[in-house]
Amino acid sequence: MSTLTLTHAQLLDPSQELNQLSDVVIENGLITAITAAGQSSSEHDEFNTKNALLIPALIDLSAQVSNVACETLAAAKGGISILCAQPSSKSFIDTPAGVSLIQQASAAASNSQLLPLGALTQALSGDQLANMHSLKQAGCIALSNARAPIKNALVLRRIMEYAATHDILIMLTAEDVDLSANGKMHEGPTANRLGLTGIAEVAETASLAQQLLLIELTGCRAHFSQLSCGRSVEMIRNAQAQGLAVSADVAIANLMFTDVDVNGFDSTFNVQPPLRSEDDRKALLAGVNDGTLAICSNHQPKDIAAKKAPFAAAESGMSIIDSWLSMMLTLVKNKELELRALIHASSILPARILGLTQGVQVGQKANLVVVDQAAEVCYQEETLLSSGKNSPVLGIDLVGEVKLTIAEGREIYRV
């Protein structure tokens, strides 16, 4: 019998309208009591949070994980209890055997839990359906083609119909790859000045419009990963108002940076979807603040050689997982993101999308993170736990230091 008491924590859980200075008692992984601060008995292991924030642990809807032990350790330190592992061209799961391999690796690493997302199409080819039902049976919480295109609208329709038949959650991206062909960054003044091929907004919105119509036709449950345009947020709001079972997320990079950050040809900012205009960034923030959008890390660790090339020749992707929460808290500090919206978008809403229960509640398994939201942090290459050092925030002053992460009742990180 193990008991842990978290004392003097600023408990904030918008799913239950909780916002109070509390003590939280956890026995054998279960939350057994939540009392006003200073009222719990402290005869057991006690963790004095010293008025730090206690919130539901984060759930990342979109991360690429090549080295399971390494990335899940970084995630644990980053306050994340669950990581959804997006397929990539180098590693995808289109068979049940692949699912159990990931599950075993995740269990062995014993850090944040890794949930495999199965492929929607075989080998992400975009033309032949993967064994979608078998993958769901094997434990895939959702299926995704990552950013590999499904160009044929008829294939897309069939995928949606099949998913609706078996109530499978599908994760989609919105990109017309003909319209975005060879594009390296947002189409706008910066791309024109730098002579880099632009990706027009319409490459996202035209694809999104088409897919929303197909979702309406087929009645499937769909989640759009990594939207980047202000216009797209509006389209998701309208679709939801219309009653479609759609949700969407935005990568933290698109909330923090814009196309102007590409100015120095810095390949760190080569990312898909591209960083867009300041107007888009503001509209995406508004979409998070009003509860429409979830936030994902879109973590993509890259080795040094992949990024050490001229901008257009470098691989796209940013290493985010270490700094995800700090980046979000810095937006809160800058008064661009509301704290309760942060928790909703990175924990409550992702859980709802995936059909998981989440919340700091008596009787539930503890899934929580204690974070000092005022502590200043500054990441350097050496301090990143992720295998990818391609972080956009190296040397930048952020706030928010995780003190403790508990996932499924298990302590996976303590400072």
């Binding site: 706008g188 003044p189 791309a191 024109n192 000045r193 730098l194 002579g195 880099l196 091929t197 923090m256 940076f257 102007v260 950050d261 100015n263 120095g264 040809f265 810095d266 390949s267 050689a305 050490k308 090339a309 001229p310 901008f311 257009a312 020749a313 956009p392 925030v393 190296l394 040397g395 930048i396």
Partner: protein
Amino acid sequence: MTRHSDPTQVQLTADGRLKHFLTTEGLSKALLTEILDLADSFISTQERAVKKVPLLRGKTVVNLFFENSTRTRSTFELAAKRLSADILNLDIARSATSKGETLMDTLWNLEAMYSDMFVVRHADSGAAHFIAEQVTPGVAIINAGDGRHAHPTQAMLDMLTIRRHKGSIEGKTVAIVGDILHSRVARSQIHALKTLGAKEIRVIGPATLVPKEMTDLGASIHYDMTRGLKDADVVIMLRLQKERMSDALLPSESEYFKLYGLTEEKLKLAKDDAIVMHPGPINRGVEIDSAVADGEQSVILNQVSYGIAVRMAVMAMAMSGQASEQAKQKAGDNA
């Protein structure tokens, strides 16, 4: 939320001297004028029987061309030789990188040969900038064209051409016609023209080849050649690549020529003493009529000869900027 350094400043020493030449953007009027003045002085040395000056004696210049080019490479080679440098021509397009060697590996191998300057042409925008950030301090990078981004020596030889034939750039109306979208030359020209005080910079072509964001650079957009050429002092024609048709940017060469090709008749819309320029190589009958290319108002061949002088000027200035920075560094280390 930014952490990048100003890209246009990478090419300058702490005291504002040129140490690489990557782009015309962000360079002061004084510095651009210094390049033109020095180039002017080299033109007179080129007219002498002995054309060499010893400014780069003992230095090794490597022509690093990842894209094929005959003319630009030859003028850089001649410029280096006339500055008394040793020159090595590497046709990378056909060698190392095609065997899987990365750009970084190629660079480190070349640095091991103790080169002092790389003249770089590469298909990726930002390649020269990337190399400048990676090379050992003391090695100068001259951008001989990177993707669609910049071709600063071409732009400066065009500025020199305008200055020599029109007296100055200030107050002039310059029309740039054709494939602006893919043109590194046009981008570099626009930055230089703006800094040097051109009255009006017009870009002319169909919307498929003229990005609307060109207005952010200070150019006005014209889809109609008649209005675009009106009262221009300088008409710069750009080369049209054949692949623009297969990329669905244009229907055909003939329709393009009809709308945007420069003929004697259309040239009459510009000022009587307007000059016609082209970065070459020209496509006769596609963007320019032979009668215009070879006509009295054409200064296309003069551009080529000024190219050597301009390249000599930026090579000499960058090498000298590197030397002064290295000297300061040493003095600082010893102090």
